[in-house]
Amino acid sequence: MDRTFAEKYIKDLVEKAIEYGFEDAEACFMSNSSMEINILKGEVSSYENSTMQGVGFRGKKNGQMGGSFTSDLNDDAMDFMLKNAMENCEVLDDEDEEFIYCDPDNSHLESIQLSGSYDKNTYDKFSQIGLKLEKDILALSDDIKAVDYLSISCGTGPSTSVNSKGLYTYKDSDMITILAEARAEKDGVVKTGSYYWFGRDIDDFDEEKFLKTLKKRVLNKLGASSVKSGEYKIIFSNEAFVSLFDTFIGNFSSYSMQKGLSLLADKEGEVIASDLFTIREEPMYEKALIKFPFDSEGVLTKSKALIDKGVFVKAFYNLKTAHKAGTESTGNGFKGAFSAPVGISATNLIVEPGQKDFDELCDWVGEGIYITDLNGLHAGVNKISGDFSLFCEGYLIKDGKITRPVEQITVADNFYEVLKKIIATGSDIISVPEGKGEYFCPSVVISKMNISGDVNEGET
């Protein structure tokens, strides 16, 4: 569907909605086009090419906002959406008001982040890179027995919205992702490890660098054993820390706070973490692949500290929660899909790095565990209380050096306590894609955490 048609469709829908009796109305059109190949055993085992699109509508009547959506844009779709959204307004009794908004000075918002290199993303190019990559992974070591998963995908996602207050938005961006999981086997023990790359130009993919990291992630796990249960100093790898932090990011949402579902309610301005810990949201961060100049409500985003030297500065707000709290939206009102309501999401987050590189951190820690993988984050956590007990993998640190891999251990603690126990951040910052944007995060050291292992007294 072309842009002109989509824009006319949603404009007509909003006009019809006002005639239908809504006080205010907004419609968005979202589309996702993607192409993906999968490689298995020397062949392109699958190829996908697709376009998914739909229209989401929200209309306000008597202070309530009703929503509806369709991906079948036939002649009856507009009537269906208006009728259903009106019925939904009638049953809602939300005491917090939702808004349809337009800043007169910023009523026309466009963000186009498309690479000039998208045309290179062809089946032939991806197949060639994927087949070579699989071959090269298998050649890394005799212990690598298979590449169970290898995909190369690219996508673009234009979206546009209009509302009865005069707002017009349009945004589009593109991205390529490469993901590989290899399986190693030695002495009857199987281990898997994966790695990814993402970017805009497929020619930026550095296979050598990719192989080097993937090799470490798979082969270094061989020969792993458990450890004795007890308290250990912990270094979280960049990715492990990001996965832990992101599991609890919802607690920094003003919505969770207002609904009594976050222990951070009424804590803005208070110390909640170690003074060595600072994390900022930078929607337009220079190094981020995707930038977010405005949110789905048409509010301009801004750079801000979430936690500054341990102090919880300000939560993430959209228009609805900001109104309730008597403050301004922080530009974090995002819709995840055309069928979804406006929620609250963070964009690009940056954890302030420290001075020590990874080897210096190990040396400084002396004895402890380096955690590289945290599993079961969707299950082994109590998102409200912050308690977690997670299956993890990593390495034992002895005499300031990584000694051997560890497995069959769990780490148990409380998210809020962990924030307070941060005793260092490394200088080894990397980008980790998570949520809507990316985290830029170093390794993070925690003074002590409980590890449950499977080794008896006397063993090591």
Binding site: N88, N375, I384, F391
Partner: protein, 461 residues
């Protein structure tokens, strides 16, 4: 829906000169949901998802394309693009399309999509009001109702022409108990393919009370101990352990490429001899059921493990090509945006002989997980982890104090061999399963079982 002529044209275009199989998957899903938080209706939405997926195969080479644009012109263009990407040999003949046959696993007395949102809300308000006045420790209650009707139409070059209609309802009641800075939740989330009569018959007050009691017990509980110990896992959602640690590893997605820890185990012992397990997609009205899978094949009641011996894998049509066997009718996908893969339906460990009371009485010391949360597994290594939502210590054969924050970890193949007691109180429970073909409704289930030794990750030494 698309006309027969349009579908035939798409299949013809898709087969091109190299594909040996082409399939058109058309889907329309009408959905409606309402959500309450602390007695207020804060969410109400309705909508239609529609789209078409075209899948081609040549040997084990697969091409999948999809769109929500249903114009014949767009679909034929997409089919031709797919045909140009398939690698392989010669095109097979296109067989005459069979007469359309329709099926449904739903048993509907009252079609839920005809019930007004006001009625849905009055049911949820009853739960919310009861919970909020039950005990001062209960500070929040979230309740939601989601219903949908999904109609799929599958036509392929082998002549299959099937339509299946699936109507589902899912309820969720979640209560939060607060004590100081501590918050714990209790939750029930039943799912069904029965009609709205299920909601009318649901013992809402009793179930809400259970949620509240769980939340209150857990907020008052101390932390679980850590270390290896015997673990009794309660019936119903406790079956998630089998689903995650064993079910996924029996899918042809993993077995077909020999990446599973259960590869080449047919006829061999993979579980304790007191364990038998099934995947039965054909239970009418059950949340995870379907009569026709998302590739147009008839579903099955599959014996996975018989007295500890591996009897069958879950094989979809691509898996069948890889493994040289027949598909078992388990090709599923979240919606048209995913190519189908082998998936579970209603998967459970079958009843054993023990009275659950005896299992507890015969356990001197251990952990009793009465309510399990979710978990995940690496099918290659078999390593899994699960969280217990509600658990108690067992001391001297008796249920002792409640404990929170317990996680069970281990390797699926070892846990299966270590099941030493199986109860006679089989129960099924609804869940959602996420995998490479998206999120699909499944039920998990088991009677009460005991595993002689599992590593428990808790916070107390």
């Amino acid at each position: 829906m698309l006309s027969d002529i349009t579908i035939s044209r798409i299949i013809e275009a898709a087969m091109g000169t190299t594909a040996d199989f082409a399939e058109v998957f058309e889907e329309e899903k009408k959905a409606s949901n309402v959500g309450l938080l602390n007695k207020r209706t804060i969410r109400a939405a309705s909508g239609i998802h529609y789209g078409v997926g075209i899948r081609l195969m040549s040997g084990t080479n697969v091409v999948y394309v999809y769109t929500s644009d249903k114009s014949e012109e767009a679909l034929i263009k997409l089919a031709k693009e797919a045909a140009s990407a398939i690698k392989g040999g010669k095109a097979a003949d296109i067989k005459q399309v069979e007469a359309l046959s329709k099926s449904s696993p739903s048993i509907l007395e009252i079609d839920p999509l005809t019930v007004s949102k006001k009625d849905n809300i009055s049911f949820l308000k009853e739960a919310s009001e009861y919970a909020m006045s039950y005990n001062e420790l209960i500070t929040q209650v979230a309740a939601s109702y989601v219903t949908s009707n999904r109609v799929i139409h599958v036509v392929n070059s082998e002549g299959i022409n099937k339509e299946e209609s699936q109507t589902r309802i899912r309820l969720s009641i979640e209560t939060v108990a607060t004590k100081g800075t501590e918050k714990q939740t209790g939750r029930v989330a039943p799912g069904t393919m029965r009609g709205y009569e299920f909601v009318n018959e649901y013992p809402v007050i009793e179930k809400t009370r259970e949620c509240c009691d769980t939340a209150i017990r857990m907020v008052n509980a101390g932390y679980a101990p850590s270390g290896k110990m015997p673990v009794i896992i309660g019936n119903g959602f406790g079956g998630v352990i089998f689903h995650e640690a064993c079910g996924h590893a029996l899918e042809s997605t993993a077995v077909g490429i020999k990446s599973s820890c259960f590869t080449d185990k047919l006829g061999k012992q993979i579980a304790s001899s007191i364990v038998s397990a099934r995947d039965n997609a054909r239970i009418e009205g059950e949340w995870g059921s379907y009569m026709t899978d998302d590739t147009g094949r008839e579903s099955s009641d599959l014996l996975l493990i018989e007295n500890g011996i591996c009897r069958n894998y879950l094989v979809d049509d691509l898996g069948a090509r890889r493994m040289g066997c027949e598909p078992t009718g388990c090709g599923r996908r979240q919606d048209f945006t995913y190519a189908p893969t082998s998936r579970m339906s209603n998967t459970y460990i079958d009843n054993g002989k023990d009275d659950p009371k005896d299992i507890i009485a015969d356990t001197e010391y251990g952990l009793y997980c009465t309510k399990m949360g979710g978990g995940s597994v690496d099918t290659a290594t078999g390593e899994f982890n699960f969280a217990a939502e509600e658990a108690f210590m067992i001391r001297n054969g008796k249920i002792a104090e409640p404990v929170r924050g317990a996680t069970l970890i281990g390797k699926g193949q070892e846990i299966l061999m270590n099941i030493d007691r199986v109860g006679n109180d089989l129960e099924l429970a609804a869940g959602m399963c996420g995998s490479i073909s998206g999120g699909v409704p499944v039920t998990v289930g088991q009677p009460t079982i005991r595993v002689s030794s599992i590593l428990v990750g808790g916070r107390e030494a």
